[in-house]
Symmetry: C5
Subunit: 360 residues, 5 copies
């Protein structure tokens, strides 16, 4: 996945002082889009933010949940200004911009919960799974979500839900919003996992019906690689939610815990599916090898049967093709027919022998 | 297992707010059947419930155990009404209806113990193992069991036992009933495990007697897949019962603990059997591959022997089949017989050579 | 092992209320034999017990150790009467009779230590390892040993030792007797393990000297299966003794602990041997496969050499066997000899080529 | 890696009393170079040290951080004098000189933190990864770094950063310097890891496009060996930093902990990459084997098709090459053409048969 | 290793009461040699002990360290007398004599530390690694070392060091002596490990240069077996020293702990080397299999090319060798040459085809 980017990242950061903000992701032309969504059980406002100075730490006593949805992390200035306004630690900002950062959770003294994870898409265009770097910063009454500026805002559905009804999301605090955003991402994991499951079923049918060919193994290999990639992306989430449940941060309300628990449950089910797919792949490989080896066997048997029948017969024909002056059989009237007859007998004998050994 | 259902499930739930009740299982025509069984050591009543409002949280002081046996989880209305009457958490109800839910246990504040697990049947019709989603809700004096509406009520035997005698089940509380229902399910696991054991024995005999064919490996693969599926279904039960034993919920009487311990024991034995079958399968695969490879060897030897004997002889015949004017041997009286004799000598020599090398 | 019994066991117990006493082992004709051995440092009595009512819980204050050696567990009546007389828990009695029960230890409130394990014999007749179900019940001043009624009493040697001298066994309590009986069983494990070691050495020599044949792999497979069976039987003992050492039951005297520790040591050594045999087996399989593959190579080389030498020569002979009117070479006087000479040159050239490539 | 050195090391140390200072690394001609860098937020001094006695334990109350950068560990005298001046434990000095020492951390009574690890270079010249032994001694206000005298000072970039600005390094204490030096080394690990990643991508492309040859497996093997070597070098660092974070030495300021945490994070990401490469290698091997086996199949098919078509035809030709006097077909006018025609029919039939079986 | 001894051991001990002293090692003719070395920082005495009664528990207040170096454990009387004089537990003496005992540590109530481990030699004569059973008993002011009477006293170098100087060993107590003796043994492990490393390098070169033959795999197998044997011997030492460090026995002075820590470090490095060798072996096996498979491929290609070229040509020759009266081509003047020409064309065509497919 994203091979060329990878090498650039090490060169970009080597030698720089630790804690420097550097964007190592794909080059992006668009400007960062920032939305502010403020809501409580009764009201909501959605603004597009144009001036960066408008991003401000909300009043502690406000009844509103203040959600800053930042779509684009490639502009160092944007990230650092937001960092200043919300008083975020420089290492946190570094992780927001570092698209190579693996998923993790950091608690900053009970004033900020920092979660970074990956959104997974299946790109039809490149026929590959793509990861988008997402960071979520939960503070008192506010939540900031950072995402790479790709095709569209992945949290659109949550904004729609906030607009549509005054349901669970609206009635709960910023911690529930954190859960809701993570839930959107985990739902996409499920989708990806099921797409792989479908592919597996196809391959299984292909292999078991012996329609597999040379490419099948390459596909299995690619699938295995994808599974490993997804697993590495999802696996850390299990521990991350474990930390949230265990640490009892004052930022997370007790009523949100069952939902996080439920999320952890879903992640476990996905990981279990991935692991079972992985096992199935190696099982399928065994079947595939066995089929290849059986084909080989079948080819060899054909060769052996044809050779074993005709080589001796050809030898007999060869004998009576010799030009010795004194070969009494050649002069007999029925010699030719006797030879033909004995050839048939030998051939039939061999066929019976091969049938008995189960080769035909 | 149940491939097509799987993909539908993600599409059904994606984008919906978490905690929404959605049934993702197989389509079912029948209406939900609900039975109420009330019993104590001296009396018992079994009613078929028609009006949902008749399901009510029993009086706390009652000496009766109140068991609600719900056969069918596809009607959202039924589940949500029962949920309201018994004051159950929405996430619990979601898990009752989600047939994709993996086995788990949840304790709700010492007022409810929620257990969800799978019943396994071997379907003769589809020649596959089928899982049925079962949920058990244990509260003060009551137990609610939910099962998918399939062919028949799987807890029939327990109802019969309650009717038949005033034995252990009748003398004990709802917690013992929870144990008894789980025990029925675990007994079915044992049956499934033994059926697989029988199949293994057959395959082993087939393979060791070298009667295995191309399909054998596919069967081994399917068996391996089934084993993995069963293991994934049964494995979580071990921890679940561990939780019940450890948490010391007030809903579980101390006298029930030895029985749960015993159940945990049975599960361990089943898991151990499954694991040993799994190992046997890979051992059998090794034997199978070795047999295939030996057959190949045997085919190749035949080819080699036939070729090595007749190709040189044919060459000799070929020499004396040449049409040179001046070939003195052709003119001798005994040339033909000397050639035949030398051919026999060569053939016999090769046969001896191959016998010595152990190829014949 | 004991395949047919296995399937019967599930059918026998399915549907019965848990805790019912059912014997699932092999059918046995003989009646149960019960011996009572009473001893202290100075005296001993050995009685054959005929009337079941004679089995009685000994006086708590007695200086004698009271050992009830029950040889046969197939009579439900015998087991349940002894259970009543000694006030044993029904689940304990169930485990005594259930020959399918895996080894385990149970502590019943510091009044009874219940140990169930397997005696392993190598049956010459059936050429297989057989397991005998043994249960030991340790109480205050008494010990009850249950064993399947097979060929002979496996604890005979301990009875002899008690009769012979007033040694360590006689000077110590029932807890030391428990250790002594377990020690007898563990010593038999060692014997079995060494027998397998001997078999392994034979096979290793056979394989490395390349005298292995088609059956070798089946034998390795059977050995692997036996190893897995023995390991499963012995492995739980490690934890069982760990429990005895850790729990500090008042029934186990401190002076007995070093002996239990020593026993645990022996078990660890046996397990280690089993594990190293297991590893050796897979190593041997690799060597075996390599030898098979080398043989194949050697067969193929022979075929290739014979074909590569004679097929071109036969072709040359074929050319001069053609019947064209105008073939000038045929008319020359020395043509035949030149052809023969060139054939020798080609053959020698090929032999040199194959020698250089290391194929001959 | 460094094979011949290895054997020398055991002979050098066998029999000597433990704790003797012995240099076991590569022979080196240059003298040890020692630099002293003293700095605080406002000033800095860099001196080249010529007289060993000038290395002295700094005043405890100094505001300067005192860094002794020792480039060369092959002179026993240098190491032991520094050891005396800074009052270091003899076992610590032994570890400084022992280039075979694996990475580890030792805390000496909260007065000294001793870290030894490996710098990894990719040597273009020898086409191999080379490890350089680095030791870091952190004390109150001072840090001593020991490195093998190879091509250049690996900590040059840190010295430059100290000279260039009064940034983070300058404002922090010796503990931050320890972090900064370790960070330089970990950044090099990342470079090495990415170089391997690049190599992997090349190989993957080669193998999947079926351009792999006999050497490919040797390269995969070497890569696997290198990966194992790097992993063994990097793995202990994880625990080492864990110790630093856990032990709460007074030498490590609280403000440095997030940086160490971040470093630990980087190491985890590198280890994860290494592990995923390792997995990919075995996946690639499977694909490679499958391709080799497919090629074999294809070779065998060609042989079989050619033989199966022409051997029977040659036999027919052989029959009519026999010299019997009485062979009626030979005398017919159209016999020859009928034979040719039947040969074509047979050949076409076989081609159709092989096409149907998918062999052509 | 030592196969025949193994089987004797079980027969010797089966049925005997536990705790009986039985020597199960190799038969030995020599008498046991006993040396007593007494030393402190200023003096030392070395005596050969002839009368067993001269072995006595030293005075508790003595400033001397009393070391009894027992060379030979095959005389039951010697071991039991020493046991009585030093008041050692019978199970300890049993372990001293049982050469089959695996390495372990036992603490007897803080009055005795008992360590048993294995000395490893590489026997040139038998071309195998041999284990010698060594036991060390540490008490207040004394240490008893037991070793099998083989070729020479393995602790000679330590005695020499005591005689030679008043260095570290002389200035420290019996606990340091325990460390010094274990250090001698661990140094020998390192030697053995490096010898295996050398062998590995040779094999690796052999295999990668494709000079491996049929025996190579047997050698790899033997090496693997040796590695497993060494690993099993060394592995327990890690935990043993862990116990010494953790238990804080009063017999071990705090100043000795860093040395034990260092020893544990060495053992870890050896185990790590062994594990990496093990991995390398399986990597080498893969390379070896691949080379074998490539050779097979190359053999098959040769066969296929020769057959594919000459079989069709022979067929053509066969056609014109037929004896039909009416074969017009035979009568043409240039027919023969046209046939020869077309044969050349076919042959060249096939060569081009095979070159294009990369088979030549």
């Amino acid at each position: 996945m994203s091979k060329h980017r990878r090498y650039r990242s090490a060169e970009k950061t080597l030698g720089t002082s630790p804690g420097t903000l550097t964007y190592v992701g794909a080059d992006i032309d668009h400007a960062t889009k920032i939305k502010r969504i403020e809501y409580n059980a009764t009201e909501y406002h959605v603004d597009e933010i144009v001036k960066l100075s408008a991003c401000r730490l909300p009043n502690e006593a406000t009844s509103f949940v203040n959600w800053l949805d930042v779509d684009g992390i490639h502009e160092q200035k944007v990230v650092s200004v937001i960092g200043q306004q919300y008083q975020l630690h420089p290492l946190l900002l570094e992780d927001v911009m570092n698209t190579e950062q693996k998923p993790k959770i950091d608690l900053y003294d009970d004033t900020v919960v920092f979660v970074t994870l990956k959104m997974l898409h299946h790109s039809r265009q490149r026929q590959a799974i793509e990861a988008e770097h997402v960071s979520l910063v939960l503070g008192k009454n506010y939540l900031i979500s950072f995402q790479e500026e790709r095709t569209k805002d992945i949290f659109e559905t949550v904004i729609e839900r906030i607009k549509a009804s005054s349901g669970k999301t609206r009635r709960n605090g910023a911690d529930y919003l954190l859960y809701a955003l993570m839930d959107v991402i985990v739902d996409h994991y499920l989708l990806i996992t099921e797409r792989i499951g479908e592919k597996m079923d196809e391959l299984e049918e292909q292999i078991i019906r012996e329609q597999a060919n040379q490419q099948t193994l390459s596909i299995l290999y690619t699938l295995k690689r994808e599974l490993a990639f997804i697993r590495r992306t999802i696996y850390p989430l299990r521990d991350m939610i474990g930390v949230l449940l265990r640490e009892e941060s004052t930022l997370i309300d007790r009523s949100t815990l069952p939902y996080l628990h439920d999320l952890s449950d879903h992640i476990n089910q996905i990981i279990e599916s991935l692991d079972s797919y992985r096992e199935l792949i190696s099982g399928l490989m065994d079947v595939y090898y066995s089929i290849v080896s059986n084909r080989m066997n079948s080819v060899m048997k054909t060769l052996t049967i044809v050779s074993a029948i005709f080589i001796p017969l050809t030898f007999i024909a060869g004998i009576y093709g010799m030009n010795f002056d004194n070969m009494p059989e050649l002069r007999t009237k029925t010699g030719y027919f006797w030879v033909l007859f004995s050839m048939v007998v030998i051939a039939v004998g061999e066929v019976i022998y091969f049938k008995r050994r189960g080769w035909m």
